[in-house]
């Protein structure tokens, strides 16, 4: 087991290097640092000195991959690629355009993101599984049929609509909770209710339908027929046998997103004014802060890879038939 985990972690390293290579190509090769400087400083009135200053402030005033003016190993280490990549792996993301340290920002913003993403994730999981079970229990009846119709309709509604509609209905019309904002400590609770509810609803259609599919697939297996043939009531078949076995694909599908919860959600956070990582990313995109976007891409991939490793481990925990060698 430990052996396997170590191997998986080692396998993650070339992938992270690949991710780093892709982001590097995107941010420094497709457009040279000069282009970025010109874009940021304004195309028209920009002097070569201003560009040099901009590049120097960010450490972009070196050759991309290969430095001819240096000796020995420094030919490769005194380059943008090496310096930026090495810093990235040491979680030193540099400074944003407003001068703040990105790594510190990320640390402080993780908690608000998690405060929304975690309840949405847990509540959603419980709610979707419950609905899916009800639909599977009443399969091939009108309950199931209209349930599926509802799911498809929910799936077809833009997530922006849920947020705008929810804000309008609950906050503006009924004045139940504040429209947006965030507080510290327990005070944050009243700000979180609406985003969490909307988050759960907006994911309902696709997830419920998917879980229903898993349940139905499980119910067409032989052991279910055997259980029925033994004379077990349908509810016991469903809850004791089908539910347990269906948890394997459901849990493993859910585990992969757990680390990504830290990233929060782009749209909801910016609509509700929550100072999390999602709104941080959006602000960075809008103000064209390249360093922040690059850091978020790296962080996101890292978390996703951790999620994949956790998924593999969770397989062995929920399904004793699988042994990791």
């Amino acid at each position: 087991m430990l052996n396997y985990i170590i191997r998986r972690i080692l396998y993650a390293i070339p992938i992270l290097i690949g991710v780093n290579l892709i982001t590097f190509t995107l941010f420094f090769v497709v457009n040279t640092p000069d282009d970025m400087a010109r874009m940021q400083l304004g195309i028209k009135r920009v002097t070569p000195e201003a560009i040099e200053k901009w590049k120097h402030e960010r450490g972009y005033d070196k050759p991309l991959m290969f430095n001819d003016s240096e000796e020995g190993a420094a030919k490769f280490t005194r380059t943008i690629f090496f310096e930026k990549s090495a810093a990235m792996f040491a979680f030193d993301f540099g400074r944003a355009d407003d001068g703040r340290d990105i790594a510190h920002e990320i640390k402080t913003r993780m908690l608000p993101s998690l405060a929304i993403a975690l309840p949405v994730f847990l509540l959603g999981l419980v709610a979707y599984i419950t609905f899916a079970l009800v639909m599977a229990f009443f399969r091939a009846t009108y309950v199931d049929f209209w349930g599926v119709v509802l799911c498809v309709a929910l799936m077809s509604i833009s997530s922006l609509f849920y947020i705008i509609g929810g804000q309008f209905l609950i906050s503006k019309l009924w004045h139940l909770v504040p429209i947006s904002g965030y507080g510290s400590g327990l005070d944050a609770g009243k700000f979180l209710v609406l985003p969490v509810i909307i988050g759960v609803i907006s994911g309902a259609g696709a997830s419920t339908r998917w879980y229903r599919t898993i349940f139905l697939e499980e119910m067409s297996k032989d052991y279910v027929r055997t259980a029925r043939a033994k004379g077990l009531p349908e509810s016991i078949v469903l809850f004791r046998h089908v539910l347990r076995n269906a948890m394997i694909p459901i849990l493993t599908g859910a585990v992969v997103v757990i680390p990504l919860l830290f990233l929060g959600s782009l749209i909801a956070e910016s609509f509700f004014g929550i100072p999390g990582l999602g709104s941080y990313t959006i602000d960075a995109i809008n103000s064209q802060d390249f360093a922040v976007v690059r850091a978020m891409v790296f962080l996101g991939s890292l978390l996703y890879i951790i999620g994949l490793i956790l998924t593999d481990i969770s397989y062995t925990l929920v399904d004793p038939r699988i042994r990791l060698e």
Partner: protein, 502 residues
């Protein structure tokens, strides 16, 4: 000899024409092969699928009309040289000329005859009053809007809808006559068979959808000549016109992205599964790496870089429309590059299975070349996966466009799309009194498009997926097992949706 207009083929136009030709060739090919026709027949038997297709056909027709672009000639008599406007128009713009050109001053509600905000008006006697000024075009034909408006709107709507129903009746008669002739039946029994749903293709579902569309369309057309039926936006542009224009953007994103990613996914997926060994390792490494970057972030980063690139290369485009179009194309490419990994993984798995099949082993033994085995024996047998992935991705991509445009990494701000409409209107909810019509019409058009795409995709999946099983016990029409929703192979559109809704 000078022309009245100069045809313009934008990048996405050319690709759409290509796509239309590919689809037509595919239809022609399928019609000649019974074994390929069979699953399509099953699609044709699905009532919800056919009703959804009817709606989709209308959307596609509007999208295609909006694809034929040209630059009209500017009238200047002195010069012998013809000068063409810098404005690029489409056929839809010409048809919707009244909608496009009748621009009010600012916001006005649907069916309003007055502006939405009070303005100070100078009276002839020098005094000033604050009131809601009359609209320049909306309801301008009415003498006394307060008294006449409701009756006028009702009458026009009824007339338009009536005309739509009339057209529908003609279509019903034509269809029955055609079917009766084909089956050597009498006219009336055929008509009643259609009504009962006893025909092979569920024509009753199609016709019910059609009568809804035609009456709504008739009413909308009759009203939009004299009113802004969905109101006007901040700069006084007709919201109905904007909604119509958004359709093409949504369709382009939904279809061209797939067109962009198919070559990657097909080539690499089949190669990985077929050759195995180091080829497989390399390709697996590439797609694992790409798919481990969260979709939205990769798209955001790529679009950001594209903006810089377009900013520093202004020579790539000559008009604003060309610029917006190029950006749309880049967006499709970026979405395609980030979304081929899921399909590639599926294709690799399927190819791994297929290459061990006896008929392929036999082909090997006969010395058939790799290329021929792939193109003759493997490719046709993975096409159902490609088709299902294509239709399943479509609706997700349309939804993703809105989210991306909101984030600021979507289409060009000058291009009308559902995303830009929502983005422009989202602050209007906070206004007092509230401006709701732009949001509502963007959302309802998008909902209709996505819902019908989803229903059609379901019908296609049911018909093509060999894993679909019907429930063995009773009336199993509702029971099926899904695929392609494996979380590890989730397409990028779904990933975008996920991170937008926590």
């Amino acid at each position: 000899m000078s022309m009245l207009f100069k045809p313009v083929i934008l990048w996405t136009d050319a690709l759409i024409y290509l796509l239309v030709m590919v689809v037509l060739a595919f239809v022609w090919y399928v019609r000649r092969n019974e074994h390929m026709l069979a699953p399509w027949r099953r699609v044709g038997h699905s009532a919800s699928g056919m009703a959804a297709l009817t709606v989709l056909v209308f959307f596609i027709a509007i999208g295609l009309l909006d694809t034929v672009h040209f630059r009209p000639a500017v009238e200047n008599s002195g010069n012998s040289e013809k000068v063409y406007s810098v404005e690029v128009l489409s056929l839809l713009d010409v048809i919707a000329e009244p909608l496009r050109t009748r621009v009010e001053k600012t916001y006005s509600a649907p069916f309003a005859a007055h502006l939405y905000a009070r303005e100070t008006i100078e009276l002839p006697d020098g005094g000033q009053i604050r009131e809601f000024p009359r609209l320049q075009f909306g309801g301008a034909h009415l003498q006394n809007p307060a008294a006449q408006l409701a009756a006028d709107v009702t009458w026009r709507a009824a007339a338009g809808a009536g005309l739509g129903v009339l057209v529908w009746c003609v279509l019903v008669v034509l269809l029955s006559a055609l079917l009766a002739r084909r089956d050597n039946e009498r006219f009336l029994p055929t008509l009643s068979a259609i009504r009962r749903g006893a025909t092979e293709i569920p024509w009753n579902a199609v016709l019910v959808t059609l009568v809804l569309i035609l009456s709504l369309l008739g009413a909308a057309l009759a009203l939009s000549t004299h009113y802004h039926i969905f109101g006007t936006d901040k700069v006084g542009q007709d919201v109905f016109y904007q909604s119509l224009k958004s359709i093409r953007t949504g369709l382009v994103i939904g279809t061209l992205t797939t067109l962009m990613m198919l070559p990657f996914a097909l080539l690499l997926g089949i190669m990985a599964g077929y050759f195995r060994g180091w080829v497989d390792d390399v390709i697996q490494y590439i797609y694992t790496t790409l798919s481990s970057i969260p979709g939205v972030l990769l798209i955001a980063a790529a679009v950001l870089m594209m903006q810089v690139y377009m900013e520093t290369h202004p020579e790539l485009f000559d008009t604003i429309a060309a610029r917006a179009d190029l950006r749309l194309l880049f967006l499709c490419i970026i979405l395609g590059v980030t979304s081929w990994t899921g399909l590639c993984r599926l294709l690799r798995g399927e190819t791994l299975k297929l290459r061990e099949m006896e008929y392929i082993q036999a082909a090997h033994a006969f010395g058939v070349s790799h290329w021929r085995i792939i193109s003759r024996h493997i490719l046709p047998n993975v096409m159902h996966i490609v088709l299902i992935a294509t239709v399943m991705d479509f609706s997700g991509l349309v939804l993703a466009e809105a989210v991306l445009s909101y984030v600021g990494v979507g289409v060009d701000p000058s291009m009308i799309s559902f995303g830009t409409m929502i983005n422009a209107a989202r602050l209007e909810m906070a206004r007092e009194p509230m401006v709701w019509w732009a949001l509502l019409s963007a959302f309802s058009f998008m909902f209709t498009l996505v819902l019908s795409a989803n229903l059609f995709a379901d019908a296609v999946q049911d018909a093509f997926d060999p894993r679909v099983r019907t429930w063995p016990l009773k009336a199993g029409k509702l029971q099926r097992t899904g695929r392609g929703e494996d979380p590890e192979t989730k397409p990028v559109a779904a990933a975008v949706k996920d991170s937008s809704s926590p």
